[in-house]
């Protein structure tokens, strides 16, 4: 049975089914039929310059010669790749090429295959250089289409035609990625300058080129980081019930399509490199140009919005606001005031829930009606924080401060505000619902800098894949990933190229979640810069020293013990009856299967309480397992033995941990 949308063609007597618009060359390669193709690469659009890839095509009516690299299959055809007429024409082209570039190896090889040892004439512009440029145009196409730079191009005509940088000068905008040199079939391009003088520039470039190739080939189908950046996660998190909605009460919302990545795609600037720094091939930063502001000191002006990224959009759903213009506006003003969109949105979501629950009212907020979804009030709050005025003076101090303040000054129920105020170690949560992933609750709670997912993002591994079922499995993940991710910070590298694109063979590796091919690449980066060979273990070891040091630093500053790894209950389970009832089937099943009690006949309040007892105990068990795995005491303090093993057993460090039972 033929698959829908597939077209069956015949090449040299073999039949093959391909998707519409596959080129003949690709179809032939898929069944191991060789067609010489000098100006073709799967990294760039076809160009049909060399004409070596000609084949004969019969579409049932007539036969013609076509270049196979840019001939799309649209109907059943018969293809001959080495008919008499193909061979004759190919030979003429090859003889001409050999006469012009007699010492270029690829040409010599192809000519020999075609039975030409020596050309019968000499080309008027013969070039004896074995690394001569054969004008295939691959370099300029990869620079333009792959790197999104536009540094090199053909200059002049006829015999003078050559690849050059503009005005034959060195281009400051060339990012030195080496893609042009890598793709060149003759070695005509060499990288000459390495201003940073790394130990082995070639090793670095080769490792970088592997990521470049993956990005060019796979990004569109994988995460589309170049198209929409991390915003692609919005609709995905919604689908898995993980997108925070109304202060993390829920994980999805019917209005999510209004702020999904497709909406932002329309607004994002297109076709320009958009990385955090020049030359980043992932280029996921994204920007909206000419955005007209509706509020604040720049009202009416058209500005550039740097973003939004996933967290900024997730922060908006967390405030119950599903309006892309609001997202762009709060993104711009957070950046302008020097605020972080995560902290602002998470604390505003907290304020909104307090407002809805009656902890706050319009007097206490000095006139701001901060219900969920109140976008104008949210923006006004943002401006007040920026100006240091009104309720903004209280809100701007963050959730940890507000919880205490609301209890002491507004008579708030401490249990309620402490359950729903989403911060740990004084830092606001980022935008993921963690209720169904114990490992991720630990990821946030134990993270050294506070409630951030950048040490470990384990929700899929834990909740969806069920790959880490035991406490020990979760502890192992909470050992490895935070150390691995710490390593990026040690080196000043971005983590996203590690796991937002994956190598073609990643699925076949032993531990695909670690992306072993990329770990190997980072070992090469490190070695290429420093000259010191590395393994995954040695990179982890670097981090382990620093990570333990950081924990000791936390301890010194009063944040480094078990009590500081506590989390608000909202991140572990349903605080309110409404939350429980919104996912009743899930929770009832869990009570039955995991807690071992029969929920029928129980009131929702009772069920919330039983679930809470269970989940809070689970979290404590998790902490036990993680501390043990890390070589810390049960109070979360690194032991003297661990610090000695790591070689960071300095006298003041030892004195400090001993004081805390380490």
């Amino acid at each position: 049975m033929a698959d829908r949308g597939m077209i069956t063609i015949e090449i040299d007597g073999k039949s093959v089914s391909v998707e519409k618009d596959t080129t003949i060359l690709e179809a032939a390669r898929s069944i191991d039929i060789f067609i010489p193709a000098l100006c073709y690469s799967e990294l760039v659009e076809p160009y049909a310059a060399c004409r070596l890839c000609i084949v004969e095509v019969n579409d049932g009516r007539k036969t013609k010669l076509v270049t196979s690299c840019n001939y799309p299959v649209r109907r059943p055809i018969t293809v001959y790749t080495s008919s008499e007429s193909v061979m004759r024409n190919r030979k003429i082209i090859l003889e001409m090429m050999l006469s012009r570039w007699p010492n270029v190896q690829v040409i010599k090889d192809l000519a020999k295959n075609a039975g030409i040892e020596q050309p019968r004439y000499q080309h008027p512009s013969v070039d004896l250089n074995p690394n001569a440029c054969i004008l295939c145009g691959l370099c300029m196409r990869v620079c333009e289409q792959g790197i999104w730079d536009n540094i090199i191009n053909f200059m002049n005509r006829g015999a003078e035609r050559a690849v050059r940088m503009p005005y034959d000068s060195e281009q400051p905008h060339c990012v030195g990625c080496g893609a042009c040199a890598e793709i060149c079939p003759t070695g005509a391009i060499t990288m000459v300058e390495d201003p940073n003088q790394p130990f082995d520039a070639e090793m670095i470039r080769k490792a970088g080129m592997r990521i470049t190739e993956e990005m060019i080939k796979f990004d569109k189908e994988q995460c589309d980081m170049r198209g929409v950046g991390t915003a692609h996660l919005v609709e995905i998190m919604d689908a898995y019930d993980l997108l925070p909605v109304m202060n993390y009460r829920f994980g999805k919302h019917e209005d999510t399509p209004k702020i999904s990545s497709d909406v932002f795609r329309k607004h994002f600037t297109k076709g320009k490199p958009d990385g955090c720094w020049l030359g980043c091939i992932m280029a996921c930063a994204k920007a909206i140009e000419n955005f007209e502001l509706k509020t604040g000191p720049y009202k009416g002006e058209k500005v550039l919005v740097d973003g939004p990224e996933y967290e900024t959009v997730g922060g908006s759903s967390n405030m119950g606001i599903f309006d892309p213009y609001f997202v762009a506006e709060y993104n711009f003003y957070c950046d302008t005031y020097g605020l972080d969109t995560i902290s602002f949105s998470t604390m505003t979501a907290f304020i909104m829930e307090c407002y809805e629950a009656g902890v706050l009212d319009i007097e206490k907020t000095e006139g701001l009606e901060l219900h969920f979804g109140a976008k104008d009030a949210a923006l006004e709050l943002l401006h007040q924080i920026g100006r240091g005025e009104g309720f903004g003076l209280i809100a701007g101090k963050g959730i940890r401060y507000m919880k205490k303040y609301f209890v002491e000054n507004f008579g708030a129920d401490p249990n309620f505000v402490y359950d729903i105020g989403m911060e740990a170690k004084g830092m606001e949560y980022s935008e993921y619902v963690t209720k169904e992933s114990l490992a991720q609750q630990g990821g946030y709670g134990i993270a050294l800098k506070g409630a951030q997912h950048d040490e470990a993002w384990l929700i899929f591994m834990d909740m969806v894949n069920k790959q880490i079922p035991t406490f020990e499995d979760k502890a192992e993940a909470l050992h490895y990933f935070p150390l691995w991710r710490t390593w990026f910070s040690l080196c000043g590298l971005c983590k996203l190229p590690w796991n937002d694109v994956e190598p073609a063979d990643n699925a076949e590796t032993d531990e695909p979640a670690k992306v072993p091919g990329h770990v190997q690449g980072y070992c090469e980066f490190f070695e290429g810069v420093t000259g010191k060979p590395q393994t995954m273990d040695s990179l982890i070891r670097m981090s382990e020293k620093v990570y333990n040091f950081q924990r000791v630093f936390n301890l010194k500053m009063g944040f480094g013990r078990r009590e500081h790894d506590a989390i608000p209950y909202r991140s572990a389970g349903p605080v309110t009856v409404t939350e429980y009832e919104s996912r009743q089937e899930r929770y009832d099943t869990q009570l039955r299967e995991e807690v071992g009690i029969d929920p029928s006949g129980m009131s929702s309040e009772e069920k919330v309480a039983r679930m809470r007892k269970f989940r809070e105990t689970q979290y404590e068990h998790l902490l036990n397992a993680v501390y043990k795995r890390r070589g810390w005491t049960n109070d979360g303090v690194p032991t003297v033995a661990k610090l000695t093993e790591l070689g960071i057993d300095f006298p003041d460090v030892i004195e400090l941990v001993k004081k805390h039972g380490g």
């Binding site: 997912h453 591994m461 983590k495 994956e502």
Partner: protein, 65 residues
């Protein structure tokens, strides 16, 4: 019956990986699919038929910061 990431799903003749992804609403792009431990390449998701009683793993990798 088949199990998908530990969850029991109905089985019918001709059910594919693609059908399972739809049924589970697994939208995430970085997936690895295995039927009874055997890796199924991405381009075979809609042509690979799952046998009754199979254990299917749809491993989600990670992405984002």
């Amino acid at each position: 019956m088949i199990t998908v990431n530990g969850i029991t799903l109905d089985w019918y003749e001709g059910k594919t990986i693609h059908d399972v992804l739809q049924e589970m609403n697994y939208l995430f792009p970085l997936l690895i699919a295995r039927i009874n431990g055997k890796l199924i390449p991405r381009n075979k998701y809609d042509s690979t038929v799952i046998p009754d009683g199979a254990t299917v793993d749809i491993i989600h990798l990670m992405s984002g910061g």
